[in-house]
């Protein structure tokens, strides 16, 4: 009898890792930068420690040479040393010498200036050498951990140097991971997409939004679509409104130059918060895969009712913090931060009232707010349900004033809580709202991997479900760009008076008036 042909690995079945990545090489552009140091290197090392990296995996750092180092061997040693130091400082687990040694042997370095074509030829030679030595079969990931202004240029050089292989030609696969911010408005995002898609196909492009790598963000989908009882009430018939809050107590942490160009709306709302909104409002996908999930998310983003021209005055509130007290410490105002124009009109707080114009959400306002230097750090999505249609307890001493509320907390104390009314013990019909609280670490006391570990792994496997697609990025920028334009128009006729909230408060008073107009109030998380 002939032995069966093994198309799949029979030993792999029902293993913790259902799929393992192909051998591949990851090239990091911006290998000396902050992101590489704090996130990428520790994430790669933790994957190695868990044995999740494939055989034949290597990392190549591409960065400007340090001229104090005599030889390329010295530069490589310096790169490995830098790698080790960053793992020591930022890894969630300590260095295991034997694992580290094997891992370090598979790190390489290429001297490179993003703008010099020759350097991409050296990279090409190095990749070929690594392929020969480690058997990566031409599979490669380019990670752009660089200032956004270089994205297009690097991509162009990669194409010109013939570094973008594809499976069809039998040379292995190529993928590219691009950090945020992806553009600064609709026009620049489209232009960037065009540049990238001249060289790469969409399925090779992984636009990262690290929020999607967070366990609790993924749990929004599990909560909604793995339970049968929530979906039937997740719509305009039962939901009064939704509040999505991402509050930060920190300021801009020395990134004044960057923030002046960005502002709260671009920095947080365009990417992370619209993603949270999409996950909260989307229809159930047919499968948890890249196309199905992203098709549903993009429909939500495309259904956002535009906020145009002077409508910004009605549907948005902007703020900027002045000096104040946060967690017992006196902190400077935004205009006093390093790298910030003393007359800056950049917003550090934004509140929006958004409508998703589709059958499910028609008429349900979704309030979004984000700010820096608020009293505490919290990210959450709160679904406030309508009041019971009729109260038989009309004579009761105390009416249930609080409607049902479901809160999905993303950080801190990630979990879910549900508020409902209960009878207070006593001879009269008094009632009071109580919370039924679920926190992750109460139920599952396990250490979750860092978002970057999950996302790097997904990219190696070729799963782009948790990355944003071209149409998603453009739909979100379209919505945001209208608001940015509207603010410009408004500024021509009314003066922007900043700062308008003290550090350590919940934002400008106008934001309270904004929601109170609708007979609602902000949650105090």
């Amino acid at each position: 009898m002939a032995a069966p042909v093994l198309l799949t690995n029979p030993l792999r079945e029902a293993m913790q890792l259902e799929r393992t990545p192909d051998p591949c090489t990851m090239v990091i552009f911006g290998a000396t930068g902050d992101l590489t140091r704090r996130k990428l290197m520790p994430a790669l090392y933790n994957l190695a420690l868990e044995g999740l990296l494939p055989h034949g995996f290597s990392v190549i750092g591409f960065s400007r040479p340090d001229h104090t180092l005599a030889s390329s061997q010295d530069a490589l040693s310096a790169f490995r040393e830098r790698f080790k130091t960053s793992v020591k400082s930022f890894s969630r687990r300590p260095i295991e010498p034997a694992v580290w040694d094997t891992f370090a042997q598979n790190t390489e370095w290429v001297a490179g200036e993003f703008t010099r074509a020759e350097d991409y030829q050296s990279l090409r030679a190095k990749l070929q050498e690594v392929d020969r030595e480690h058997g990566a079969g031409g599979n490669r990931i380019f990670y752009l951990a660089t200032p956004p202004s270089f994205y297009s240029e690097i991509v162009r050089h990669l194409g010109e140097a013939g570094l973008v292989t594809n499976r069809a030609t039998g040379q292995g696969w190529t993928r590219i991971i691009i950090e945020k911010p992806f553009g600064r408005d609709l026009a620049t995002a489209k232009a960037l997409n065009d540049e990238i898609l001249k060289v790469f196909k969409e399925e090779q492009v992984y636009r990262i939004d690290h929020y999607l790598g967070k366990e609790t963000v993924q749990n929004i989908l599990v909560f909604r679509f793995a339970n049968g009882i929530f979906e039937p009430i997740w719509n305009r018939n039962f939901v009064d409104h939704v509040q999505i809050t991402v509050a930060e107590s920190i300021g801009i942490e020395g990134r004044g130059t960057y923030y002046e160009e960005a502002g709260a709306l671009r920095d947080m709302v365009q990417s992370h918060m619209l993603q949270l909104l999409a996950l909260t409002a989307m229809e159930p996908p047919g499968a948890f895969d890249a196309e199905a999930v992203r098709n549903e998310k993009v429909k939500v983003l495309q259904a956002l009712r535009p906020i145009q021209n002077f409508e910004v005055a009605e549907f948005t509130v902007r703020g900027q913090y002045g000096p104040g007290w946060v967690a017992g410490e006196y902190v400077p105002g935004y205009r006093q931060e390093r790298g910030v124009n003393p007359n800056s009109t950049t917003e550090t707080y934004v509140a929006l009232k958004v409508f998703v114009d589709n059958w499910r959400w028609a008429g349900v306002p979704i309030y979004i707010r984000h700010g820096k230097r608020l009293p505490k750090r919290v990210s959450e999505i709160a679904i406030q349900f309508k009041n019971a249609p009729h109260s038989p307890f009309i004579r009761a001493a105390q009416l249930p004033s609080e409607p049902n509320l479901l809160v999905m907390r993303i950080q801190p104390n990630d979990g879910i809580s549900l508020r409902f009314a209960a009878k207070m013990p006593g001879t009269v019909m008094g009632m009071r709202a109580v919370n039924m609280d679920f926190t992750y670490d109460e139920a599952f006391d396990v250490e979750a991997p860092d978002a970057y570990e999950r996302l790097l792994m997904d990219c190696m496997i070729g799963d782009s479900t948790l990355f944003t697609r071209k149409d998603e990025v453009e739909a979100s920028w379209k919505f945001i760009t209208d608001i940015l334009d509207g603010w410009c128009e408004l500024a021509k006729v009314t003066e922007v008076r900043f700062p308008n909230y003290d550090a350590g408060t919940w934002g400008p008073p106008a934001a309270d008036a904004f929601i109170e107009r609708d007979g609602r109030e902000w949650r105090r998380p």
Partner: protein
Amino acid sequence: MSTPAPHQATWSATSVPLVAIEAELDRLWHTATRYLQAELVAAGRGPDVSQAAAPSSIRASVLNFVAYAGGSSVEPGTDEQLTKLADYLATKHRSRTVTIVAHENAADVALIATIRTNAQDGASGRKFIHEQVLISADGAVGERLPSIVMPLLISDLPTYVWWPGDPPSEDSFWRYITGTCRHFIINSREFSKPLESLSRYASLSRNARKYQTFGDLSWRQLSPWRELVARFFDNQYYRPFLNGVESVTIDYSGGSKWEMADGAANACPALLLAGWLSSRLGWSAVNCEWRDDGFDIACTDGSSGRDITVHFKSRLRPDVSSATIDAIRLKTANSGIQAYFDVVRQDNSSVARATAHVDGRTDSILSVRMTTEDLPALMAMELKFCDQDKIYEAALDAAGNMATLAQKQPTG
């Protein structure tokens, strides 16, 4: 292990009616809850008045955990060990715990119940309450014991039963709780009669009710070994070699405490690893021969009729307390090319190296940290599972067959 928080209350009674236990649990639970709320308020994290919503409870249980230590002799200190284990597990999986220490051979019949509520620190620093009922059962308590245990379990939560030592016989406490038990856990590395017990455990699993699942902490410990072996054959160039396996050698070692009658170390982990390979690759065990340092199991490949030998090489090591795998080596051939796939861990090292030697060339090397988890950590992992693990059950079935063969042919 988490340190117990200051709040701890215990209560005990001899031969008491169930209602008294339940009432006492309730009372202790409330005292503990009030204590926690007072702490929260003191820490400024009390009920948020502006929300007019008070936390109704700090309880979030995900399972019932029943531990049963019985058999002919129970080592002194077992109850403390189980209590400590349960406290630790509760930090990972909030549960109601019922711990039973049964002195089955005691002459007089006696049942003593002790209840403990303990405010413990969770990993996040938040406190939570863990409730344990400890039952000491002397003599032939028969159905009286399950009639107390059953109503104490929180309804609708899956019940996990931890059974230290050899697997239960048909006429034990097991008979009464099998209907309630969702997931049954043993640790085959600690079997005192490894071959006999493994083959019995395999038959328990074969005859299980629907929805009842079986686990073995030793199987959990094999995960990194299985992962590394599987990893070779994710590579499509190596995969065809799986059809040409000629022999498998598994080196294992263990302390003398659990040695088998013939002087070998406990072979259960090695048998499970071999059982996994043979069930995945469609081999069946046909014969066993003993050697000085272990035994060989002859297998036949179901599709090609090829012969495969699995060598079990045992080593007694006084410095290790329970059996571990040291290496697994596959010798194989495909189209006339000879290949060896080895995963080897050096003594006392936490790192294993996987190496493929194909056609005289050393092809790829991977070093991975092998998790050497202690019993509480393994148990915490095991409590994550309750779905049927078909791969394990098939491996256990095959390992059970091998153990049965090995039992029949002890050294002459």
